[in-house]
Symmetry: C2
Subunit: 343 residues, 2 copies
DNA sequence: GTATGCTACGTTAGCGCCATCATGCAGTGC
DNA sequence: GCACTGCATGATGGCGCTAACGTAGCATAC
């Protein structure tokens, strides 16, 4: 008796509640809410109305378990503060937008053990596909990817052997091409500046390609500087000051990304150096954010958005079986900006 | 007969497989893998070994359904390319790191309908909590938050009425304080530059607070400029050129964020304007990225990381019932940098 | 009239796991 | 000897949903 006026017992709603409220079976409610199967328009309306009135939100956990289908795509990347990865995410998002699929992000902080942990966690939700940055994984992680039985797309990098599909650019080649362009422009006393890259394999490959490209032209790095922690203008400024003080006759500085490059550029300009005559400079990534600096830094585009889009497409195609394992290597373009002599 | 040599049928593994491989019941395996309940060390080892050998990955979908517990926290934010939000995420991540909880991100693109959709989608996974940016939601979204029965923390902004908990800063007050500081420094011909902010409520509140602050000092905005789309150095440069050409006697420019502010600053310096004597400038956010520009822009810190951390803490505390609904308003500090006259 | 096909539902049997309770079995106290 | 305690493990039921199949009811065909 008393419970008539009790506050609505806050049990969470189920299909049964909607089914009772609308006078049809749970199955029919399920069909209506998923837009599946034959249900008359009259019933559909009745059910939808009841669901709305109750404030019913389906339980995807139960749905996924019953149907063995999950509309999630795991995206595993090293960092969100790198600017590169949010842009890749943008591409993935854009591509998945029109589909049922939803990206779910995991962050590894460039740590292999953490990657392994995050991957395990992600797989335990049985996603429909995995997009994961890089080709270097622990043995256990690689095994998980292989055994997962779902589409795997490794992104960013194509220098290596993918588990399944792969889309990215060759960072080794990007480094080599920059070296060639620098030599072609007549620079000879060349310095390098980048992260301590034990775990950033792509930065390492660019560096290796760069050194190799110089070597082919008979030139060795004149000086170098490695740093730890995030990239920012301040860091580039600081390191550039250090390297220029130490080796004043450098005529080119290659930075492993645009942001520290821009910092270096600002410093060099403050010091009144003739850019690109006396000193040339180049970065990597082609970030848009920096369009607007007084001088445009030479760079190589890393095709971030396109990689994201392509990766999402590959996951979908692989899921419906319309694609064999393949590697797509995009071709980034070198933009000499205003900080390299033109030949 | 023939199937002895068939390739291992790639059914996905279940507890039962591990249980058979290790000779104990499913229940015991479950206990071992979750580190729960009394299981002898000998059995533990046996089970773990079997699970590892098989490459078993638990099915959280089934686990969540059975236990009615999900270790996910939904984080709903407008954008990932705004730099502000990745930093908030950083704070959330840092705080959740040591717990079982995992953030899952949804992006709304500043669109109320999309927010509603994303929220519905998120709730259908029955997360343990929700962190959502802003206090303005559609009626339906607000109802969902209220009915969800889980902790809700609205972040970034405290000017309004939260559904449950809330942590952020008062943007209205931030705008007002900047106005007061500008007037105190003796500037009088003041221009404003910001996004067309129909949907960016926080930018709008800063603007309103700013105008209000000026009004209290008997000053009106001398000129203003609104733009659409993302914020970048280039945009700030362009708009600043326009506003300075149109109203050359401006003696202060207030930008609704640091990035366009920095663009404006670079342009003003190229034009050889005396900063902060002839022209003062200020932005908003206190982004670290820009430390390293030749001149440090005046700004107000938006406490991003702290908001993230606090929000995560509140979700946890609210989940275990140790916290009543509350609003935490952080106090951002104004940094005059080098672009405001000192009084 | 029976056969046939079609639409619009309902019924049943799980999906893989975990909360809960039951159980066996050793050791302990008197 | 018997109850009692504590520990390690097993059996059972069900979380909320959906795939697959079943069927009532009506229309059409001959």
């Amino acid at each position: 008796m008393s419970d008539i006026s009790d506050p609505p017992a806050r049990r969470t709603l189920t299909l049964r509640d909607v089914s009772e409220a609308s006078g049809v079976s749970e199955m029919t409610v399920s069909r209506v809410l998923r837009n599946r199967g034959d249900v008359s328009e009259a019933t559909r309306e009745k059910v939808r109305e009841a669901a709305r009135a109750l404030g019913y939100v389906p339980n995807k956990i139960a749905g996924a378990l019953a149907s063995n289908r999950v509309n999630l795509v795991a995206v595993i990347i090293p960092s969100m503060s790198n600017m590169v990865f949010p842009e890749v995410m943008g591409g993935i998002n854009a591509q998945l937008e029109e589909t049922e699929l939803q990206p779910v992000v995991g962050i590894t902080d460039y740590l292999p053990e953490k990657e392994e942990k995050v991957l395990y966690e992600m797989l335990s939700w049985r996603p429909s596909g995995i997009i994961i940055a890089g080709l270097e994984h622990t043995d256990a992680a690689r095994a998980m990817l292989q055994n997962s039985g779902i589409p795997v797309v490794e992104i960013m990098d194509t220098d290596g052997t993918p588990v399944d599909c792969c889309v990215g650019i060759s960072h080794r080649r990007a480094g080599r091409e920059m070296a060639e362009a620098i030599l072609a422009a007549g620079y000879r006393r060349i310095g390098f500046m980048g992260t301590k890259m034990a775990l950033d394999h792509r930065a390492r490959k660019r560096y290796e390609g760069f050194v190799e490209g110089l070597a082919k032209g008979g030139v060795e790095l004149a000086d170098w500087e490695f740093y730890e922690g995030g990239s920012a203008l301040g860091k580039g400024r600081e390191l550039t000051a250090a390297i220029l003080d130490r080796t004043p006759d450098l005529d080119f500085l290659y930075f492993s990304n645009d942001l520290i490059g821009a910092g270096g550029l600002l410093l060099a300009q403050e010091r009144g150096l003739d850019i690109p005559g006396r000193l040339g400079m180049a970065g990597f990534n082609g970030v848009e954010l920096l369009q607007g600096l007084p001088t445009k830094l030479a760079t190589i585009d890393s095709c971030r958005k396109e990689i994201g889009r392509e990766a999402a497409k590959m996951v979908m195609a692989r899921a419906d079986g319309s694609l064999p394992a393949e590697t797509v290597s995009l071709t980034p373009s070198l933009d000499p900006g205003e900080t390299m002599r033109t030949v």
